[in-house]
Amino acid sequence: MKQTLTAHVGAPGFGKTERRDAWWLEPLLVVLGFATFVAYSTWAAFQVSNYSYGPYLSPFFSPYIRPDWWPANWSTAFFVLWIPGGFRASCYYYRRAYWRSLFASPSACAVSEPKRDYTGETGTIARWLPILHRWFLYLSLIVLVWLWIDVVKAFDFDGHFGIGVGTLVMLINVALLSFFTLGCHALRSLVGGNARCFSCAPGGNARYGMWSFVSKLTQRHKLWAWFSLFSVGLTDLYIRLCAMGVLHDIRIV
């Protein structure tokens, strides 16, 4: 049954509101944050050297894939980068952030928006986002395992156990990435959220446990999204600066 609301015509046009607070601040910060990351990561991904130092490997280049036929002066980052890129681009938090900040739909609550032919997430491209996100989740879990392997390797200094500042940087980074990835809304549904009754479903207790764990991370998904975004960039930067000889990596153990 069609039940549409024919009522009030809201004020069209961008940014009309009676709000008195600085509603434009958050979208502005988000744009600046995205721009900084995209600029740095694009530059870094095109680099053909300085992505590793000692036992450390930049997360932009992991898993490290370099087929023989691949030209030496081309970066290998793009073999993998589309996975975290696609994962974040289809993530519920990032969607919220760019719908608001880039598409002004809406820039902030109760603020008018410029575009009138709204289709939301039913549009030609946008309707694929939640579906693609599933695929990217599965792929990202694989990449995450790889990043953990890199961290284990970062304890290995020419066959001897050791810890450098770089090891800790990589460890913190992969922890933040895990908090982000394991707090995914799709995972939350998958591990238990799609059960209508936990205790009646097969394996219900285990599923409830997993769901509760993921839910805790999901609660702060926005926080992990930002922390992990910057930690990836900073980890690459740290390793790069060490490789360039600008920074000296201190061995702790």
């Binding site: 049954m1 069609k2 039940q3 549409t4 609301l5 024919t6 009522a7 009030h8 015509v9 809201g10 004020a11 069209p12 509101t17 009676e18 709000r19 008195r20 519920y92 969607r95 919220r96 719908w99 608001r100 739909s105 809406p106 609550c109 109760a110 008018s112 928006e113 009138r116 709204y118 289709t119 939301g120 997430e121 039913t122 946008a126 309707r127 939640p130 579906i131 996100h133 599933r134 695929w135 599965y138 809304h185 799709a186 939350r188 549904s189 998958l190 959220g193 799609n194 209508r196 009754c197 936990f198 205790s199 009646c200 409830y208 999901t218 609660q219």
Partner: protein, 274 residues
Amino acid sequence: MSETVTSTQVHGGGATADQIVSVDSATNQHIQVRINRGEAGEIEGRWEEFTVPLAKGMVVLDTVLWVQAHQANDLAARWNCKAAKCGSCSAEINGKPRLMCKTRVEDFNLAEPILIQPLQTFKRIKDLVTDVSWNYRINATIKPFTPRQDREWKWFQHDADRAQEMRKCIECFLCQDVCHVLRYQTEEKPQFAGPRYFVRTAGLDFHPMDGAERLEQLADEHGLGLCNITYCCSEVCPEHIAITHNAIIPEKERVVDEFHDPVKKFIRKIQKKK
């Protein structure tokens, strides 16, 4: 506790100053409120400014009732409980959808007038009162609770938690008002049930003993896909229901699960072949 002088409560018309300003909470200060008034169907309306005596702990609804009692007897406003539980006093205060009875005057910069408008998404009946009946018509389209027959009626608190969060809704329609899908379209609104009804549907879908299927209705008739998860509904909900987080996204994910998950599709195919 301060001693509050009360007389009989009169709805929508005759609250006395004493009812509002208790003896020892009165101050010498005055504040300005600017109320958007208008007749049925008027969109822009007209702003009228009033000077109201300030009392400690005063809420915006108090100022409206004071104006009604002293300066504009014909001012229309809807309220019932003054306890943030009936959901009738919804309005937009300094541009934000809020319950008038739960919004403290002292939270604002009192050097400036406080702006009070009716809900912008719904048609005005008079002054601050809007016609929200469309919501009840949407509500009637939702498949009601359908008990399962194939299972013993036994469940635990943790099974009921998710449904219970959704049952906290007081139907204030602040979420419907702020949702940009309903708010900023012209003339005929898109076919979209709105966050309040995603909350109701999730409350039924996550009831451990419910057996009805509502996914197709949600995705098609109720336009779940039009929501772009921008969280405004969650920001305004006075009951702090995590609408987007715990109702809308889990339902969107159930749609993916049911119709689009690559691994599940694969498993189903194999099971069919067997």
